[in-house]
């Protein structure tokens, strides 16, 4: 057993660090560090930088434009990006649809869609959740009916998707749709790719409790989708949907984000004064910080153990798709990882004292020219805390993760 990275792994980490130092713009990092607003262009520019380096689609096999990394390299890369305050990639094309197309898509679909994901021509969003289908995803009601006419085979899609993250920027959406109502819910679902400019698609913003426009509702009214946009077989969509979810949960622990967040918190707690001393010396606050720090130190090792096990499994079964993506163990990482991240956001909010309350939305733009009210961290402390309550809800709520652990790991 050896917790240290090998010489090769360390060299790779240095390579990533050097790349980030050279290519991550300081202004962009500052926005990420301080939870300021990121524009569509910010996200697209970072996507392009990574694509240029060949490090964008780090789960993809080399033949489709991936870097051919293993699980440990991916972990190092994600971790270093978070520590350097790089923006989180919009994951829907790269981390979700890409792997599904690679495993289940036709050659024509791979040739058409994968390069467009890489070069950013398509911005994908995710059409999974519906107003009546949250944790119970298999209950989707949006329908797709296959029709033939002079123009060829089509699906006519009707229904509504929700919680569509950054759908306002997207031109494409992948959807779970019901193609058979007369079978078990899981057996009548298909996986469909929809151009959002098609007549009948309407995107409406959902404003979240922090006042932000991050998520949307997407309505489908008699939307005509070419049959060639069906991925895999009709009514087999649930299999593809679950496969996608395992990718959604990679790097779900977000260890790098937590390490970066804890660093920020410590700096803030050293600077904030309480009873004539730095807040970090208050025994109660210090104890809460220490607990989360220890949890995080343990989590780092737990995460590496899961990754090492997945890498070993992949090595033992080279034919296995995914190149070492953790299975149900990622549910443990998700629960603990999100709890840690949420606690750090919570402590940052507390650290700001009364200055967590003032909220000047414009101050979350880097270009804001007025003097700040309170410390820099206070600009977004409350908003970031509330925004990240989503962590324990999305990607399968933490309660769903416990169900998965019960079933897949404990056999209950």
């Amino acid at each position: 057993m050896d917790l240290q990275f090998t010489a090769e792994e360390s060299a790779f980490r240095e390579e990533v660090r050097a790349f980030l130092k050279a290519r991550l713009p300081a202004a962009l990092a500052r926005k990420v560090r301080n939870n300021l607003h990121l524009s569509k262009e910010d996200m697209e520019s970072w996507h392009a930088v990574l694509n240029e380096r060949g490090w964008l689609a780090n789960h993809w096999p080399a033949q489709y434009g991936g870097p051919g990394w293993g699980a440990v390299q991916r972990f190092i890369f994600e971790n270093e990006c978070a520590l350097a305050d790089a923006p989180r990639l919009v994951p829907f094309g790269i981390n979700m649809l890409g792997p599904v197309l690679i495993k289940y898509g036709s050659d024509a679909q791979k040739q058409h869609w994968l390069p467009r994901i890489l070069d950013g021509r398509d911005w994908w969003c995710q059409g999974y959740s519906e107003p009546g289908s949250g944790s119970d995803l298999a209950s989707v009601k949006t329908t797709a009916v296959r029709v033939s006419d002079a123009a060829g085979d089509h699906y006519i899609v009707n229904g509504q998707k929700t919680w569509t993250t950054l759908g306002q920027h997207a031109n494409m959406i992948f959807c779970l749709v019901r193609t058979d109502k007369d079978v078990k819910p899981q057996q009548g679902i298909s996986f469909l790719l929809v151009d959002m400019k098609t007549p009948g698609v309407e995107v409406r913003p959902i404003i979240t409790l922090d006042g932000e426009h991050e998520v949307n509702e997407v309505f489908f009214t008699d939307v005509k989708v070419p049959a060639e946009n069906l991925v895999g077989e009709e009514n087999k969509g649930w299999t593809y949907a679950k496969y996608l979810l395992t990718y959604e949960r990679t790097n779900i622990a977000g260890v790098g984000f937590s390490v970066a967040g804890l660093e920020r918190l410590k700096i803030a707690a050293d600077r904030m004064q309480y009873k004539g001393k730095p807040l970090s010396q208050d025994p109660f606050f210090a104890a809460r910080m220490a607990r989360v720090e220890i949890d995080l130190e343990n989590m780092k090792t737990t995460n590496l153990r899961v990754i090492a096990a997945a890498a070993d499994a992949a090595a033992a079964d080279a034919a296995a798709a995914g190149g070492g993506v953790p299975g149900a163990e990622s549910s443990m990482l998700k629960i603990k990882g999100t709890e840690i991240r949420q606690e750090i956001f919570s402590l940052m909010r507390r650290a700001m004292g009364p200055y967590a309350a003032p909220y000047i939305e414009a101050a979350r733009d880097l270009e804001y020219g007025e003097p700040l009210v309170g410390p820099q961290e206070a600009v977004s402390a409350a908003a970031a805390y509330f925004n990240h309550r989503k962590l324990s809800i999305f990607g399968g709520s933490n309660e769903i993760q416990k169900n998965i652990i019960s079933k897949m790991i404990l056999g209950l």
Partner: protein
Amino acid sequence: MNFEHTEDRRMLADTLNRFISEQYGIEARNKIAYGAEGHSPALYAQFAEIGAIGALFPEEEGGFGGKGLDISVVFECLGRGLVAEPILGALVVGRALILAGTAAQKAALAGIAAGECIAALAHDEPGSHYELENVSTAARKEGEGWIINGSKGVVGFGGKADLLLVSARTAGCAGEAAGISLFLVPGDAAGLTRRGYNRFDGGRAAELVFEDVNVGAEALLGRDGEGCAVLERISGYALLALCSEAVGAMDVAKDQTLEYLRTRKQFGVPIGSFQALQHRMAELVLEVEQARSAVINAAAAIDQDDRATRERALSAAKYSTGSIGSLVAEESIQLHGGIGMTWELPMAHYAKRLVMIDHQFGDEDHHLARFIELGRQA
């Protein structure tokens, strides 16, 4: 990066686990651990024979291991078997001899490793409450030797130990690190009164009273007044050992509880089909994995020279296994329901041990505070 144990360590674990399951099954264990002696001299000798003690010491000192992971592997096995033998005493006293002993003093190591000499650390005092520097027991120089006066509390197997490692103040006052010295004292020294008793979780401990106990110059281990640094290092070994033992015990308590959820039926179905219980179990399992990670971190840190890095990892591990150990104990009892309250159920004894480990060498609060303090110093 690699999380596989070496072939040697896997073999050691296999040997120990097999021996324990054959000789130290739970019924035998309870007879031994709760009996008048609190352990089995015959089986202790056999533990030594199969290498459970030798693995704790490096080769150049006559052992065949001694790395953090060796200690961790041994104690995880002992935890799985709820072994109540005086192996922790052998570890800490042995490591003290290695760290600070003269060639003559180190001669005692062979007997310790062979299981012939039972060794105990006599450090905690009735009022010290986990504080390493809180030593009131005093030793004053008399001629070439020393005269020791004071009290030591809850000394593991202190009632029958052949060799005691005693901390005593030769300068300064209670609470100061400087001025603490270490002495090797025979268990049958004149002027030493030992009151032995059983521990709640099995095994024995003792209250020791030193009244003008006379020892020679050769009893002083390490330099006069500089014992605290040695105490910190050997306590570190104890922390790693106890944390590893806790993870072994957690695994068994967890497995037995899981088995119960699968088989116990209420309302016509296994109780493991109830989501309220599934979620508690899922949480328990992920916390046990966090504890295991904490122990791996501690084992990797124990030989580090940088004090803050090393001691923070050790305190982090003791805090983690302390809080998670209690969680596992409480949840395992709760998930078992009434039967979890009975002496008859093996799991109950694991729960007792898990909680009592938190009371050895500092509990979760003590180590959380220490973790914070070390961070401030760094």
